[in-house]
Symmetry: C2
Subunit: 233 residues, 2 copies
Amino acid sequence: MTLADTNSWRGIQTELLRRINEREWLPGGLVPNEADLAQEFGCARATVNRAMRELADAGLLDRRRKAGTRVALHPTSRVILDIPIIRLEVEQRGAEWRYGLVESRVTPAPLALTSRLGLPRGTEMLHVTGLHYADNRPFLHEDRWININLLPMARDADFSQVSANEWLIQHAPYTGGDIGFSAMNADARLAELLDASEGSALFVVDRITWDKDTPVTSVRLSYAPGYRMNTKI
Amino acid sequence: MTLADTNSWRGIQTELLRRINEREWLPGGLVPNEADLAQEFGCARATVNRAMRELADAGLLDRRRKAGTRVALHPTSRVILDIPIIRLEVEQRGAEWRYGLVESRVTPAPLALTSRLGLPRGTEMLHVTGLHYADNRPFLHEDRWININLLPMARDADFSQVSANEWLIQHAPYTGGDIGFSAMNADARLAELLDASEGSALFVVDRITWDKDTPVTSVRLSYAPGYRMNTKI
DNA sequence: TAGTGGTCTAGACCACCCT
DNA sequence: GGGTGGTCTAGACCACTAC
């Protein structure tokens, strides 16, 4: 298929994109309706529909029944982040990955956590902390709480052999989650673990995953100074 | 439509999701083909196709011609971030937005930037810095370089009235971009501007946008301490 | 109420790859 | 070779909503 092919939905999408990008269709402007475009491109309406629907999903077009399709005024850019297993992320950087368990024990979860997860106060959870290394240098600190009521077999897992990160992907399905990205100053303990100086700015990812309404795990990943998460629009 | 409706692609998708989440279909396992599922649900194959295609796009299914469809082994979680105009982000938090220009002048861009953008060294660019406020408190610092060869009218824009962020969205179409998220310690100047203490951990977004192969703008957004970017999986 | 997008169908042909 | 998903068609009905 060449880009000029206008019988395929990809070809049509490319052409529509061109008209948007080159301001042939102005932001806020009305676009011909599906039937007309189908006629212009000599294809079925469903084909035009698929091309336009994806552009609308991407936020470049606003579509409403009866009102028609318009070029979006504020193309909010939509960024897609693929969050891989930490081991793979390290290995993709060409470094050797290693995991070191710091601590693993069952203990009542702090109030802030149980209330956030909607669990009774004082609920016992499995608290696992460890370090991921890249070429033997600390890469990130993983501080995780696991819902052992939902995952009783987590008690018997040996997190000195398999990182909690990977164990959970294998054993704990989830249906959704909340993620937050922020920056924090390293406290004394974290600085020591990450081989950084106290107060260093750390990139932090907080993540809670749910299986329907039941919390599965809550984790805070604190990356060693200098970490950068990259992606494309 | 109820969730049990299996004549609509959404209903079918919900049912497929259930079978995946509840391990009725095991990770790595082969799934019935489209024709069989269409018969089971009493619908056209195209309807099943749409439901499955979206799950494959989301990374939950692996589909290959002839090989069939399998439940993905490693559902790499895919996070979608919507990056809005800064003004809207502030206003969505229920705060009043204000922009204050710090500096705007045409000057040769630093070598690190021109080489990153693929421009000749010493190329003149428009350097605009300013602060976005939320309820009169510094929210983020915007440090931006604009390609005035591509956008000569940027010279005449009054960035004390309109933030460069919004001006560009109105005037500069782009086809792609690179984004990086990181954490940095505030230096003395940034700390003063953001009303923070020196060394505070700042959440930083670096972004370069391109129009095909031509750089449009490069910007660094440094958020005041405490900022957190949230989203869902 | 009429025009637009949203969806579904039954069928067809094709591209790809061989769990 | 042959089975599978990828796509396209022509038509239909429906849901929504601007007018």
